[in-house]
Amino acid sequence: MANEPIVSLRQVTKRVGRKTLIDNLTFEVPQGEIFGFLGPNGAGKTTTIRMMVGLMAISEGEIRIKGKNIKTEFEQAIRHVGAIVENPEMYKFLTGYQNLIHFARMVPGVTKERIDEVIALVKLEDRIHDKVRKYSLGMRQRLGVAQALLHRPSLLILDEPTNGLDPAGIRELRDYLRHLTRTEGITVIVSSHLLSEMELMCDSVAILMHGKLVDVKPIGDFIGGNEQAQTYLIEATPAEQALGEIKAIVGVQGVEMTDEGLLVTAVRDQIPAILAHLMRQDIQIYGVRAVRQSLEDRFLQITGGEQVG
């Protein structure tokens, strides 16, 4: 069943002592998507991931992976998961290859050929027989991705995978994740601080704040569609007069004067009416364009610019 969600969280709550780290999370991750976890520092992204992979007990609610309860059917559920939680910490005193052997042995059916295949995939062939101690952060990240992919998981969970990668590495990772979802039907969950990254990478995002779910939506909806208010830049003179006129129009959600022009927040359908109104007042209009609001702006808007939760 293609539509069955690969991961489902139902009223998941995590408490440590009196503190509630995660509060009543309910959402589903559809199969075959790249799904983003977004939230300021301390929002609870890593905590949620830890519960998903069984590293932390769930205080209330349940998490199912491929229909298997992570708590009561741990071994069947985790079999389908490959993950990096926070930093990709590997055994430093072993070589990259020995690390892969180590994790390959823990899951039945991973062959030597598969190990070589994964090494080629993350482009570590040249350094795989070096001790991990000598790896750069980006190389460790690659090795982390390699160990997560060894057993051909259906769900790949990567906590801040771009951390430590150079731009080329990030691009490679992105292309690679796309490739995995398209050709192998793998579902990927990524959390990241690089919001612009998420915008390029993800199909949907869940926004977390203070351990609560703020929103889950396809990425397009965050950036803005027809029914949603967007920001438009209008170059008009005299600007002062235009500002006053626009403010008076019912339905305009906001207007602001900048050096470039007036930044107007309104629904797309309203734009012709606004322009017509300005022209009737003999205001000269030199240009109008939609300012594509990045996820980052949207995110800051939602979270009120707050950076640490």
Binding site: V16, R50, V53, G54, L55, M56, A57, F74, E75, Q76, I78, R79, V81, A83, V85, E86, N87, E89, M90, Y91, K92, F93, L94, Q98, I101, H102, F103, R105, M106, V107, Q147
Partner: protein
């Protein structure tokens, strides 16, 4: 499970630290045996020494005020000397067995090294953060714990084999393997001298020591899993390894001290017939040790399988 143990072994033997321990073990046996051999003054004329001993003991025994316990002891020793002289069986000094038996005291190194490795095996994964990758595989936490435990026991056993082989080889070479079939003479319950195999006796000593090694390893594991700190696990275990006997001496006058772990660790106290407190028996100690063993393992298991991993 086999794969898990192979993993643990790989992590253990791919570290130079482990081989330093092995090297140190070998060096200690070599040096100890060599020093003992070098200062060994006994020669082929063991009869004269034994006869001299015999006379000394007879003199002591003739003292009417000697307590009954010592009387039994000296009588037994004299019986053994008689047996030696009539059956032409020399005492161990001046043979390879003296060195080999002496090397058995290096067993403490096995305990020490195994405890260090055990203390780090679990806690080290938490410190390094690798525990996260270890626990998100289709292997239960219990299996992982057991595989670590077994690999530690295997390591300790490996060190024991090294101790045995190296001490037999080096002492054999130093003494040209003379008297290799020398029996051990002891007096049984009925006061009759019996011949025992020297090797069997050696392994009996090893096994009795092994009991305390296993208990200390279990303890190191428990502390590792509770506090997730290698330093703490190794520190506390080694401290109790050395401080245990001192504490015991201070507490000997209290009867309850016989329930302490350390009072029961040394099972050879029953071979020599001088238990830590009167009324303690071998089965008492075995039961007490078994209870501690179960308790320690239960704590490790409960804590390790339940606690959140936030490393």
């Amino acid at each position: 499970m086999v794969n898990l143990i192979r993993n643990e072994n790989m992590k253990l033997y791919r570290r130079w630290r482990t081989w330093v321990m092995v090297g140190f073990m070998i060096a200690a046996v070599l040096v100890g045996s060599f020093v003992e051999w070098y200062y060994d003054s006994s020669d082929a004329s063991w009869r004269n020494d034994v006869i001299e001993q015999q006379q000394d003991m007879q003199a002591v025994l003739s003292d009417p005020e000697l307590d009954p316990e010592s009387q039994v002891y000296y009588k037994d020793q004299l019986a053994i000397i008689d047996y030696r002289l009539t059956h032409d069986i020399r005492p161990e000094p001046g043979t390879m067995w003296d060195g080999i038996n002496g090397s058995a005291s290096l067993f403490i190194l096995i305990t020490l090294f195994t405890v260090i490795v055990a203390g780090d095996s679990l806690a080290g994964e938490f410190t390094a953060g690798t525990i996260k990758l270890l626990l998100i595989r289709p292997a239960s936490r219990l299996k992982i714990l057991i595989s670590k435990y077994l690999s530690m026991i295997l390591f300790g056993f490996g060190l024991l084999i090294i101790l045995f082989v190296v001490s037999v080889l080096v002492n054999g070479l130093l003494y040209q393997f003379k008297a290799i079939d020398l029996p051990l003479l002891t007096v049984n319950g009925e006061g009759v001298v019996v011949e025992k195999s020297m090797v069997a006796n050696l392994w009996q000593t090893y096994l009795l020591n092994g009991v305390s090694t296993i208990i200390f390893v279990t303890m190191a594991f428990m502390i590792s899993s509770a506090f997730r700190s290698s330093a703490m696990a190794i520190g506390i275990s080694i401290f109790s390894l050395f401080a245990g006997t001192i504490v015991l001496e201070l507490l000997q006058r209290y009867e309850w001290s016989k329930y302490l772990l350390f009072a029961n660790l040394d099972l050879s106290q029953y071979l020599s017939g001088r238990p830590y407190q009167d009324g303690m028996t071998l089965s008492f100690s075995v039961i007490v040790l078994a209870l501690y063993f179960i308790l320690f393992n239960l704590v490790s298991w409960l804590v390790f399988t339940r606690r959140d991993v936030a490393a």
